[in-house]
Symmetry: C2
Subunit: 406 residues, 2 copies
């Protein structure tokens, strides 16, 4: 049995016309001989009353005192409704299909309501339905505990459902249908020469997703990576094969020139404030800074601890609150509002000397100040003033010749 | 633990104002020391997008090819949403509550999707939550099979959920909240002197419900009758104690004058066609008439088999279809359109001579033709021309002195 998992997001299911596009891809995969598992999100957010956000609004208009357990019961209905609508449309076209809720599909999770983690998936029931020739529609974003408490996987959870099912069912591929054709080398609204990538690695797309190119949830990618299930990020609205997400090894075995791949994309995220705090009495007390942020639920990023103090970033919206907390603690924080984080991503940069040098060169030529930098195995991040963000992305895209097809 | 089950229908939950009325009754019952199980229907049909009908519309706008199993998955979400909204409102007022889906409440049913029958209820989980001081909200109309397939109990199913829980939990009482104050001796729109009944028997209300006074589903009453759980039919919008539904024995023990009770109400249902078929070759072939009706899914009622042929009734809307079938079969059916069935109901009429005589007298005085009649232990039915229906109901109401309080 060749199993394919297809995931359609809320926007792909928001109108009748879009749903017929989804069905086009379903019929195509069936014609190609696949046994098909279709994961759906709640119907889109374009005024549809059954979308996840609208269900939450329904409660908010009353009060937001709903316990988390019951919030999950409420939210999981959105995906079930979506799945039933698709089932109905498939049946109308003579395609035998069935809906298995997350619970019925035996997606077993922790009981961390609203943000549960998948513990295991017992794929027997799904395989049985596939074996009977049915398309199995699974409402995404949901699971159950051993005791049949209903849970949801948090935002982006339908991607996770799709890849986790891909792993559990040993699927040949997981297709994530979205409203873009695939992963681009940079945001095409910023960089006109940005091109679509044929393939990226799991790690690369994670760094892209974390940093603004929100096409697939990083948690979903990490799950696929466990058993190297290939993912295709592709558009509901075209036949473009999209961007393949796979391991570097897998990619090398198929693409001769993969060693040429150094940088594959430039991502960016704006509306960031850099906060610098001087140590009052040696480095020890700066630990208190991060404890204070955590206690107030303020996410921090881009942390740089050095002998004279610490620097880190928060979202612009959190900046004045963070500043106030620090002032109350007796610090004199320096806040630099309206910064942007620009990321140079590529699994090929690991251990390759001179990449940072090229980044500095490109930005210096453009007279763009690097406020801070950091690097990991596969990504280098620089913090720049937000006014310079677009020029920075363009300069780096040019520097690494990402406009050239490779 | 004194357990009270309260059931709020869709109309009682359709607006924020109405939901606060429901909460008023919940708080009152809690103040009276009850452990409370609240059964809810999908939010009302007054334009609310989450009502059962709207969920079905959602599918119909696509196609109505949804398999029954998936229809139940779709429909059961309406009640869950309703339950979560109520939970949220209760929590806001500091009333700890939890939602247990039909499945989680262990309401085990047959797998007759869209019309499942309750097989058993394991009340342990509910009692555990009640023991923890929580109000337990159960979405009505739903259950599950042993294998966790989701089922619905068909229309009127929330009443059934309420009384079945009442039986399983050995509740002191089941309150069915609706938009009327209680059961009336006749439809007050037809009979201005109609009065509210303090108490009726299970059998009486069943005959009333079947015949147009749709305040509680007969199936729900039959379940309550098994263990004599008392039901109160009452209004969400008042403090009126409503009408108590109980056994005749129970009633006798509390009401000295119960033996005076002969007739308690006059019900009616209109838009009926009487069909008479002459036997062609002896009585045997008339059996074919009913087989033919059943094969075409046409409900028949008021069946009278006699040596010369048969008479029965169908809904006016089915009349021409039924007539056509009979003609094709070679019969010459006589159709009398626009009839009405008037019912004289009272557990006290069993074995009491002269009740039929009084009915005939009352109708003859009014010059109303009795087209057909039938009687059971607790009800006598007469078929009259629909134009005479209102006069017939009034005449019978007067004949049995139902305007007098007893």
């Amino acid at each position: 049995m060749r199993i394919l998992v297809q995931k359609f997001g809320g926007s792909s299911l928001s109108t009748q016309e879009f749903r017929y596009r989804a069905i086009y891809h379903i019929e195509k995969a069936l014609a190609e001989g696949y046994s098909l598992v279709v994961v759906v999100s709640a119907m889109g957010r374009s005024g549809d009353p059954y979308a996840t956000d609208t269900l939450l609004d329904l409660i908010r208009s009353n009060s937001d005192h709903l316990p988390k357990r019951e919030t999950d019961m409420l939210l999981h209905t959105g995906e079930i409704i979506s799945a039933c609508v698709l089932c109905s449309m498939l049946q109308e076209r003579g395609i035998i299909s069935t809906v298995l809720s997350g619970g019925q599909a035996n997606i077993i999770t922790t009981d961390d309501f609203t943000n549960a983690q998948i513990l295991s998936i017992e794929g027997q029931r799904i395989k049985q339905e596939l074996g009977a020739g049915k398309v199995v529609i699974v409402p995404g974003f949901q699971g159950r505990t051993e005791n049949w408490e209903i849970t949801t996987l948090g935002r982006g959870g339908s991607d996770t459902t799709a890849t986790a099912l891909g792993v559990a069912l040993q699927a040949e591929m997981v297709d994530i249908f979205t409203d873009v054709n695939g992963i681009m080398t940079a945001d095409p609204r910023l960089v006109s020469e940005a091109r679509q990538l044929d393939a990226v690695t799991y790690t690369e797309i994670c760094n892209m997703a974390h940093l603004g190119a929100k096409v697939i949830h990083p948690r979903a990618v990490e799950i696929a990576m466990q058993t190297n299930v290939p993912i295709r990020v592709r558009s509901t609205f075209s036949d473009d094969p999209g961007t393949l997400v796979t391991s570097l090894t897998e990619m090398s075995s198929k693409q001769a020139n993969v060693t040429d791949r150094l940088v594959v994309g430039i991502a960016h995220v704006s509306s960031i404030t850099q906060i610098k705090v001087q140590a009052k009495e040696g480095q020890y007390d700066t630990q208190m800074v991060f404890k204070a942020m955590a206690n107030h639920g303020i996410s921090v990023d881009f942390i740089d601890v050095n002998p004279s103090g610490v620097a880190y970033t928060v979202h612009d919206q959190m900046a004045s609150r963070a500043g106030g907390i620090l002032t109350e603690m007796g610090y004199e924080p320096q806040l630099m509002h309206h910064c942007a984080k620009v990321s140079v991503i590529g699994a090929g940069i690991a251990g390759v000397p001179g990449v940072m040098a090229q980044i500095v060169e490109a930005l210096t030529t453009e007279d763009i100040q690097i406020l801070q930098s950091a690097d990991s195995h596969t990504t280098i991040w620089v913090l720049v003033p937000e006014v310079d963000m677009v020029r920075a992305v363009r300069a780096l895209h040019q520097q690494f010749q990402l406009h050239l097809s490779r």
